[in-house]
């Protein structure tokens, strides 16, 4: 509620400033737009250059300017074809862990944020707990890698624990996918909790109290009041988490290890794509990069506002 209010206030201020600007269009304003466009070019050029390059033949890559589109003779879809062949399996694998891990961590984050925000227990105990959780967002993952490897290879050996699954003919490399789900959920919890918590602290306290007085237990309050009101935040968290998990290389590198594995995620294959002894095939690399970025780019283009909200929190 208050959110929309402040936004309209902001809009009013902005319109006022726009009006002011329209009344006196000056050299300064022209300069402003030139700078803005130059900056836009700066952010777009690497992407644009990658895109045009991905459609070029080997000769065109060398002969045409890197940002110029390929001529009719230099145009080819072969690199995209090759990239799809190389990456499609990886994209499937990535979805296999990114989607469940995203959904689980969002749900868990919502539950946890609710339990740490709305129920009535002492702030003196809540605050340190929250500090511990939030600090978890900022841990460099290198600090947990070796134990993580130990944990999954010595303590919880999914390859042997789930032998009945591999007996069905599924390559046991897919244990890595399950490991990735659990790992991403565990490390995603702090951020998801923080995002939901910010949202829940802004819910009307009287409304929650009213529901308690109406006879609803904490569980029912969550189910019938808080969860239905969490929709917008779920969008933000799902988008944020999906982008993070899809894009992460480090954990896949450590848990799945080789790009030749049948369970290799797309980032792992992409990191080694197009480099061989003869040199680097940039057109193929660019095509691969775009293919791998496709899901997150789509999410960004369709849900840009939610994405901005997620990163700004």
């Amino acid at each position: 509620m208050s959110d929309t209010e402040s936004r309209t206030d902001g809009d009013a201020a902005v319109t006022a400033r726009i009006r002011q600007n329209l009344e006196q269009t000056t050299v300064e304003d022209v300069g402003l737009y030139v700078v803005l466009l130059v900056m836009a070019a700066f952010y777009l050029v690497p992407i644009e250059s990658g895109l045009v390059t991905s459609f070029k033949t080997g000769t065109a890559v060398i002969e045409t300017a890197p940002f110029a589109p390929p001529g009719p003779s230099g145009f080819t879809l072969a690199k995209w074809q090759a990239a799809v062949d190389a990456l499609l399996r990886g994209m499937g694998n990535s979805l296999l862990y990114a989607v469940p891990a995203t959904v689980i961590s969002a749900v868990v984050g919502s539950l946890m944020a609710y339990g740490l925000t709305i129920p009535n227990w002492k702030q003196a105990y809540k605050a340190p707990l929250l500090a511990i959780i939030i600090a978890g967002i900022f841990i460099p993952y290198q600090a947990v890698l070796v134990p993580l490897t130990q944990f999954w290879s010595q303590w919880v050996e999914l390859t042997s624990l789930l032998s009945f699954v591999w007996a069905l003919g599924i390559p046991n490399d897919y244990a890595g996918i399950i490991e990735l789900i659990v790992t991403h959920v565990a490390y995603g919890i702090p951020m998801c909790t923080l995002l939901f918590r910010t949202y829940y602290t802004n819910l009307s306290e009287e409304m929650i109290e009213s529901a308690r007085l109406d006879g609803a237990s904490l569980r029912r309050v969550y189910r019938r009041i808080v969860l239905p009101l969490s929709g917008p935040m779920f969008a933000v968290v799902l988008i944020y988490q999906f982008t993070q998990i899809w894009n992460d290389l480090l954990f896949t590198l450590v848990l799945v290890a080789t790009e030749s594995s049948p369970a290799a995620p797309v980032v792992l294959i992409l990191a080694g794509l197009g480099s061989s002894l003869e040199g680097q095939d940039f057109a193929l690399r660019m095509a691969g990069a775009f293919l791998a970025a496709l899901p997150t780019l789509a999410v960004y283009i369709f849900f840009g506002d939610e994405f901005a909200e997620g990163v700004a929190a």
């Binding site: 409304m207 109290e209 009213s210 308690r212 007085l213």
Partner: protein
Amino acid sequence: MATLELDSVTKVFQDGNDEIVAVDDVSASVDDGEFLVVVGPSGCGKSTMLRMIAGLESITSGTLSLADRVINDVKSQDRNIAMVFQSYALYPHMSVRENMSFGLEESTDIPDDEIQQMVSETGELLGISELLDRKPSELSGGQQQRVALGRAIVRDPEVFLMDEPLSNLDAKLRAQMRTELQRLQDDLGVTTIYVTHDQTEAMTMGDRIAILNDGRLQQISTPLECYHKPANKFVAGFLGEPSMNFFDVTLQDGVLRGDSFEYPISSDVQANLGDTTDLVLGIRPEDIELVESASGDHDFETVVDVIEPMGDENTVYLQFDPDAGEDAETLIASTDGFTRVPEGDEVIAQIPEDAIHIFDRATGDALHNRSLDDAETIDLE
């Protein structure tokens, strides 16, 4: 039946190393079906008291019982108490119908069709039947207020708690809802505790009013008794607008000596005072008569300083000794709206002895209250 009993209820908040006593040793008993208005200045602990009854705040010490059952440790959701909040606290994602049925669904096993029946009936009672399928955001403030009320009523709880429910309405709607609320409460006969800072609401709505100050219960009685027979100086000053005039006086030989005047009192009045000599004399503005000429020793010469015409009455600020400038003691009197008293004029203020209140200056306790012998129409009980 649902008698609500507070026995030495105390609430202490910890603020770092400081202890803040929000509610201090309050004992009160609210009878079944009674309408009790809790009133006091902001920060007096009235909302905390209400929230303790609701189970939204823990009770530091003392016991709270409902129908002879101690409910200190019973959670809000199990208390069968309904509360109307100042902000209404409607569930924004639910329609009015869902808002009203929520409590019944959560707290009872009543089948859905019966719940719908009850919601419709309550909707009719409150005249909001045509709003049942709307969302709260589509309602006006007054309509939201009715829904909040309906949500509480439909549950048929043992106790209604209301936390300044009318304060977000405009003045006209507020007056209208005040009457309607009273009528509803009379019809439903549910024990109601109503918190407000508005003394008009306090005086007009409650069967009894409880006046709180600094977390302490000052007086709990019928509105008129609190008004005419205040237990102490705080209550006397809190109720009434403009508020009671107070003068520090000392009793000497049957005369109350103040800075600007001397007021002889009869032996009957003096008998109530005991040995106390450091006193405060109180007189309500409407009890002061403005007369042409002094005729007794309860008449005082004053000068009109300021006059505030209110239409139906005038509030007149009188000074005993205009030469004293800033320090001059002021007396406030209410006169009817047609009396013309020009500013600067000398008038005689008559302070009738049967209307005076006398308080102990040290404790604030009322030692003598006005007599009501000639006020046969007033029923204090």
